[in-house]
Subunit: 334 residues, 2 copies
């Protein structure tokens, strides 16, 4: 594998000149630049990243640690981050923490060890492993969920409000016994969505009977929860579902029970999955601006990398309720 000295020898210059010519940091004679370029191409020279990063004390890489690669919400965030980072020459590496504090911790360690320029993460639960980033002085931004006890840059969605609006919508459509299937306790978005749901019921003066279930943010858990809720003596006549993977589980359960969404039970789910309009009836959703979250987070991160002393900011983006037939309401049923 060719090194910078090989290139220097072939071009008949010093290694310093090769470095300067290839990085364009300092002015180098035209002819020399050309000679160096030529030599580099001929040798197929690729700079040694570790050596460069060792010397520079930082890699032009940002790590993006997301809690579920299979969740379209997070992959959309990833695209937002990528597009912005690439524009300014940073690479993005994606790490999948799988909602596990341990994996998240592991990836944070790796990010620190590899001296990445910054980290964007969707914190799983109440982890304190981000503290390491703070003490190391590595720039980081939290997305989707805040970091309790750290005032870092955060990009959030006003998910409590969105849940409240979605629930109020169900109330307005005439549903009476509205249930909620949300994520695990301690996961901030799950808690917030539940809180928004309760806000709406409270201000509509509904009592909130036992119509809440919490499970992991996956189809399987939501499937069980839905079966459980709907086989009760007094089942809900509408459901607020906290993400699109869960919506899949709920819709499966409804199929099995032969309960028709939008007819027998009203539904609103978080996240506008590409298939939401294709199911029958089309699923009402709370569309979160995922790409935007990623793009904003990336810009904040870059700003922080450039100036670590800037005051931390919290950006809260809004979500949009897309009313479709699955929440049409009892009135319209006939």
């Amino acid at each position: 594998m060719a090194t910078i000295s090989d290139v220097a020898a072939r071009a008949g210059v010093s290694t310093a000149t090769v470095s300067r010519a290839l990085n364009g940091k300092s002015t180098v004679d035209r002819d020399l630049v050309a000679r160096v370029r030529k030599a580099a191409v001929e040798l197929g020279y690729q700079p040694n990243g570790p050596a460069r990063n060792l010397r520079r004390q930082e890699a032009a890489v940002v790590a993006l640690i997301i809690s579920d690669v299979e969740n379209p919400f997070f992959t959309a965030i990833a695209r937002g981050v990528e597009d912005v980072a690439h524009e300014v020459g940073y690479s993005v590496v994606l790490c999948n923490s799988d909602e596990s504090a341990e994996k998240e911790n592991r990836y944070i360690d790796i990010a620190i060890q590899e001296r990445v320029a910054g980290v964007i993460l969707s914190p799983s639960g109440t982890t304190t492993s981000v503290a390491k980033l703070a003490t190391r002085g590595t720039a980081y931004v939290a997305v989707d969920r805040p970091l309790p006890g750290h005032d870092s840059d955060v990009v959030l969605v006003d998910t409590r409000l969105a849940a409240r609006q979605a629930t109020a919508h169900l109330v307005a459509q005439g549903y009476d016994r509205i249930g909620c299937i949300t994520g695990p306790s301690g996961v901030r978005t799950a808690d917030d969505r539940l809180a928004g749901y309760r806000d709406a019921l409270r201000s509509a003066k509904r009592r909130t009977p036992k119509l809440v279930r919490r499970t992991e943010y996956k189809a399987a858990g939501a499937h069980r929860a839905a079966l459980d809720l709907l086989s009760q003596a007094e089942p809900p006549d509408a459901l607020l579902i906290a993400n699109s993977a869960m919506a899949v589980g709920v819709l499966q359960a409804l199929q099995e029970l032969e309960i028709r969404p939008g007819r027998d039970v009203g539904l609103v789910a978080f996240d506008d999955a590409p298939w939401a309009e294709l199911v029958d009836p089309p699923l009402s959703v709370v569309a979160q601006p995922a790409y935007e979250i990623g793009a904003v987070a990336a810009r904040l991160l870059l700003a922080r990398i450039a100036d670590s002393s800037r005051p931390p900011t919290t950006t809260t983006l809004g979500a949009r309720l897309l009313e479709r037939a699955s929440s049409r309401g009892p009135e319209d049923r006939r």
Copy 2:
């Protein structure tokens, strides 16, 4: 940021001993190991990755370059890779080439520069940038699509056969004018699926009129293609669709045209998306063993990292046709 010398000083030993104690490569006195560990923890020591990788000439990282993060097929592959790699202490970084040869090329350069131990990629098109990996001696494995002109390890699905079977199934169900919407020319899976489709029509002695459309592997392209096909004078009465993102586009088009899938037009799509059973009627799919592809690829890669001289292998996995109501057939319609 604490360095190995800081730890050595605090533990009262040499840097060599610290390295040996922490890596367990050589036998070190129990007490010293304890002292070193203690000092490392107290200082919050995290080894400097670039320094380590520079010295070792390789990072315990494998790069996974996939052509679309938003495609569940590829994210499932990612999980397979991750699970296997993590077992043996490798980290996985995910790179999204977005079906762009340029981005793929860029990520390959980065992988080489960072001296990753190996690369798994789903090659976009006829790129030759993988040649660099070969000349550099970096281990790599291709998934989903072979690399023309390189005999590397490859993990494939027998997608031509699967397409043939799916098409034969449509024939058997009594469909007459079967169309196909597949990916861009030059993308191997797209070509293979088309070839399998033609195989089936040929052996069923159907002429293949102008019922094939090729677009990018996305919903938007497939949407246009479906509108185009179905508004022809003699539209198809069934469609083979080459992936799940395209299936979304096609289903949208059918909704707009008020053509009922499984009733007016038979459908089979590649990839078993979580929502396939939820649409009305449930979508027949060709389920590819994506997780398995990733797991096998990772094992092959690890084997090649360990022994670069082993002969390249091609693993072909089978796909399963899941017959659901969207391909019920004209006979059953009434």
